[in-house]
Every structure is written in C-alpha cells, then in structure tokens.
C-alpha cells in the first residue's frame, strides 16, 4: 500500500520517465559509436562539463518555480567564474564575501521584482548586463587561476560513481528534498501556482520570492565555482550560453514556464541531455553546416516525445 502510493506519487511527477529515457538513449547512441565511453573514465570525460550546467539548470528552475524566468544566469556564472579565479584565489576572505554578496544581490533582485510587481524576464535581462559588466571589471581579459582546492575538487575521482554523476545525484537529491519534499519548499512552489492563496495562508510572498531567488543565486554561485574548477581560470564571456541552455534543460526535464510546475530531478537530467546534444555532434558525422540543425532537431525530438506521450494519456 505504502509502496504503491509512493510509486503513484513518483509517476505523478511531471514526466520524469521521458527525460530519463532520452538521456539513456542518447548515452546508448554515444556508447554504440564509441564503446570506450562506457567506463568510469569515459563517463567522467563525457559528462564532466555537465556540472556547471546542472547548477545553472537548478538556478533557473528555482526562478521558474516562482513563475518567473531568468535571462541573466549565464553571465552570472561568468561573474562568479571571474571572482573565483581572482579574488577567491588571492584573497579568499574577500572572495567569499563577494560570492555571499552575489547571493544577496539575487535575493534583492527577487525582492525588487516582488515589491514593484515587475516582469522578471526583463529585470533579469537588465541584470545580465550588470553581471557581464562586473565580470569584465573584475577580470578585463581572460586569465587568473582557480584556487587549488577548487581545481582539486573538480579533478577528484570518487570511488564507484564518476564525479559528474555523483554531483548530479547529490545536487538533484538536495533540490528535490528542499523544494519537493520539504515543508517550506511547498510554500515556495505555491507562489508559482497561486500567490494569493499562499498570502492568504499567512506567508510572506516577499520572503518566499527572496528565498527562491537566493536559492537561484546560490546554485548560480555553485555553478560558477564548478565552471572555475573545470576551467582552472576565469573568463568574463564564458558563461553566456548557459542562459538558454538552462531554460531548455528545465523544460526538457518536465518543467513548465507558468504555474510553478518544476522538477529538480528533471532539471538535472535536462542539463545532461543538453550537454549530450552538443556532444553527440562529435560522435556523429554531421557536416559542419548542419551541426546547428542537428542540435535543434534533437531538442525538438526530445520535446515532441513528451507531447505525444501527453496526448496518448489524454
């Protein structure tokens, strides 16, 4: 009975099965093309760069949970990357303070959006310029060096599970636990569904939105740190593409733009899928002219499958 209820609850989770299937299929295709991938080392190499994308997707998901959208997360990762490759290495205390300040800025952005009832899509677009500008101010040309401990973490080879999978699992589980299982997580998702109802439950919408944005900022900082660990250096333009990648990851993972429908585990899977759509190109023989098309096509396939399944159920 309890097991059955749990299974039912899992099945209720917006389309987790499909992204998982898509991920496995893509991975299977790659392994078929290159059997060497199917090893601890192979998976580590193949999936390594998913780590920043995972955190970017989780950050995006926190914002989408509030019914908003974040067009600034990519440049935000760049900014964290630049700070981590400079201040955090030279003056760790100042670096940490700066990163904490960034999380606070994200929360402040949430507060502003709430207090003035602003369209988040453009506030975050404006913020994206601010993040990029700050990144250039911190590090005018690419360079710097990651703190040794950060590079060591990124190069760590944990037993059993390759690091990117471990990070995906841990980050996904933590986000699931906080947002989907946790008691305050329910309130947070509620504001994406019906803010008035949450307010009438006696909750502060301001605090809730600030929490979600702070969570997004925190995930963004972790993503930027992961990026720095992998790159071992800083670059003010390095993160730009994460904005659209993270949005696509959340949607591919079963999230929806409106109504606070999100899935942390799905977002993590979505990040892996987005990484593989780019990777697949290096395993397939696609002419350079059509590589962008191939990426678009894969994205369409993954999402169309979801729609067909939905139609089948209806």
């Amino acid at each position: 009975m309890a097991a059955e209820a749990r299974a039912r609850r899992l099945a209720l989770r917006p389309g987790l099965a499909l992204p998982a299937l898509a991920f496995l299929l893509m991975l299977g295709a790659i392994i078929a093309a290159e059997p060497r991938v199917a090893s601890y080392f192979g998976l580590t190499v193949l999936l390594g760069f998913a780590m920043p994308a995972i955190f970017a997707a989780l950050a995006q998901m926190a914002v989408i949970a509030a019914g908003d959208i974040d067009l600034g997360i990519g440049p935000f990762l760049s900014l964290v990357n630049c700070i981590a490759a400079t201040w955090l290495t030279d003056r760790p205390a100042a670096g940490l303070a700066a990163l904490a300040g960034l999380v606070a800025l994200y929360a402040a952005m949430g507060a502003l959006i709430h207090a003035r009832a602003l369209p988040a899509i453009v506030v975050t677009l404006g913020a994206s310029f601010v993040w990029l500008g700050l990144a250039i101010l911190v590090l005018p040309t690419p360079g710097g060096a990651a703190p040794a401990w950060l590079a060591a973490v990124a190069a760590w080879r944990p037993p059993l599970l390759p690091l990117p999978l471990l990070v995906g699992l841990l980050a996904g589980a933590a986000a699931e636990w906080l947002l989907m299982r946790g008691a305050y997580g329910v309130v947070l998702r509620g504001i994406g569904g019906n803010p008035r109802a949450v307010a009438r439950g006696g909750w502060s919408l301001l605090r809730a939105r600030m929490s979600l944005y702070a969570a997004a900022g925190l995930a963004g900082v972790l993503g930027g740190l992961a990026l720095t660990g992998l790159d071992t250096s800083g670059d003010a333009t390095v993160g730009g593409q994460y904005t659209l990648v993270s949005i696509a990851a959340v949607i591919v993972g079963g999230g929806e733009f409106t109504g606070g429908v999100v899935s942390p585990a799905g977002a993590v899977l979505g990040a892996f899928i987005m990484l593989l759509t780019g990777s697949l190109l290096s395993f397939l023989d696609v002419s350079t002219d059509w590589q962008l098309s191939a990426q678009g096509g894969i994205l369409i396939l993954v999402l169309a499958a979801r729609a067909l399944r939905r139609r089948g159920r209806a």
Partner: protein, 341 residues
Amino acid sequence: SGAATPARAGGRSTAQDGIALSNSYAGNGWRQQMLKMWNGAAGYATHHHIIARTKVVNSNNSATQQASQIADLTLQGWKAIVIDAASPTALNGVIAQACAAHIVVVVFDSLATAPCAYKVAYNYVSMGEMEANYVAKRLGGKGNVLEVRGIAGTSVDHDIHEGIVKGFAKYPAIKLVGSVHGNWTQSIAQKEVAGLLPSLPPVQAVVTQGGDGYGTYAAFKAAGRPTPLIIMGNRQDELALWQKLASAPGGYQTFSLSSAPGVSSIAFWVAQQILAGAKVPHTVNVPLLVIRQNELAAWLKAVPAGGVSTPLYSQKWTEELIAANLSGKAPPASPIPTGMP
C-alpha cells in the same frame, strides 16, 4: 607546390592518423572561410593519403560545450586535435587532459593558453601597433582618431587595443577622440559609429579590427562627413569599397591588415608535421595578412562576393614558415591566391 612528401621532415608516416578540428563558433563569414580552408587542406591531405581522416566539430560559441566536445574527441582517439578556442583559458583543463593522453594539440587564431598546446599565433598587439604607426605616418603625427573595437572581454580585442594605445603613445598630438565596440560585425559597427559621430569633432582616421571597415564607412557617409582614413580588414566588401574609393577622382589610400582565415590550413599542416615527427617550435608565429594598394586588384580578383580574402597555405609553405620560426628569419610571403577558392 609539388607532390606531398608526408615523411619528408620527420620520417614517420602519418597516413594512418586522424586530425580533428574543434571550432568554437561558425556563425560569421570569417569562421566560415576558415572552415572552408580547413576542408581544403584536410581534404587534400586525405585524398593524397597523407592522413587517414578528419572531422570538424563546432560549438555554439560556448566554451564549455567546446570543452566537452574536445573531451569527446580525446575519447575517440584522434591523433591530433586542432582548436580555434572559445576562451583563452576555459579549455586549458581538457587540453591538458588530451596532452596527457598523448594527443597532439594545436591551437590557432583565438588561442588557448594551455602550456602543452602548440600555438599557431598571430601577434595581435603588433597588429594594433602597425595600424597606429601607419595612421600616424599618414596624418603627419597629428589628428583625431576613432577606434572601432571588437567584442569586449575577449583577448583578441584586448591585444589589438593595447597595441593601438602603445603605438599612439609615441604621438602626443594624435587624439583618440572616441571608441566603440563594433563586435567585428559590419551592421553593429555601422550602428555604433553612426550613434557616436554626431557628437564627435572632425575625425581624420579610424583604426579597426577587421570586418568593420565597411560599416564604419557607411556611417560616415550617412552622416555626410568626409571619408576619413579607414584601416580596412580583409572582407570582400571592404576591399571592394577601397577600390571604389581609390578609383574615384582624388583617389584614396589606405591599407588592409588582418588575420587570414587560411590560418586553419597552417594549423592543420603544423599538426601533421608534429605527428610526422618534424621539429616544430612550441609557438609558430604567423605573419598578419597585409594588403597594400598595389596588390589590391589581385586580391579582389581572388575573393568571392561576401567572402574573406585568404590564401590556402600549403604543406610546403608551412614547412618554410616553421623553418623560418626556428631560425628566426623572416617568414615567407603570403601567397596571393590566383583563383577563387
């Protein structure tokens, strides 16, 4: 050039090897021409069994996507990976990984700084200096100059700008009266220059970074200002414009300074030479492509409308370049292509 001699320099045959290109961005004319030149060199090499296979992977201007693609190429066991990098620093981790797997890594154009990678390098600081010197000479050491820059935050933009500032430092009477970011794109350069122009005093010269000369000219023309001395790049429209201006009564003189997209063919042959066991310096300096007034007609004939002028460098030419780099002698002259690629 004569028949290819795969084993000439090092003695090892590369006939079984594969060389892959990882390109960070394919979305502008320069990169398209660069890919074409790669296909020219690599296609020639596979056809003549100098190498076994090649592959090109583009990433969508994303350093991490490119990094993961390089990691994939590493897994696939390519003998050499040639890279036009999205970031000078962000790929260093995977490049080190590839080197550790005994893969030859060659970076070119937009370089990565990883120490283990061979570099086929343009000296962009010197490009800025050359522009500044030419302008200063033409203006007689005095006048107002507008600077059109590239994409902010990139090392290429930074280096060229640095060279320009350094170059003009010797000429106190030359004033940089304005600076815009044209992002190496005609339409953006045009818009930015047009926006700034009304507020500027008369401008005598414009220093550029390539791909922005035509847009700059269009902005001056639209504002009804006299055409200043504009340093041209190597886009066909820039050269055609230059010729049009030059053939008008009164004439017009300038020069074109740019990085030739054919550098991908140099990088290809450098990788092949390394695989063949030839002695190759860690940094192979490539001369910038200079087009002077007297060569203009010949270059224009060799570039298709909308294209970017460049030679396709041969294996032999590359060997000479490597030798010159080793001996510290002057590099060979860039061949002017005789037909359209």
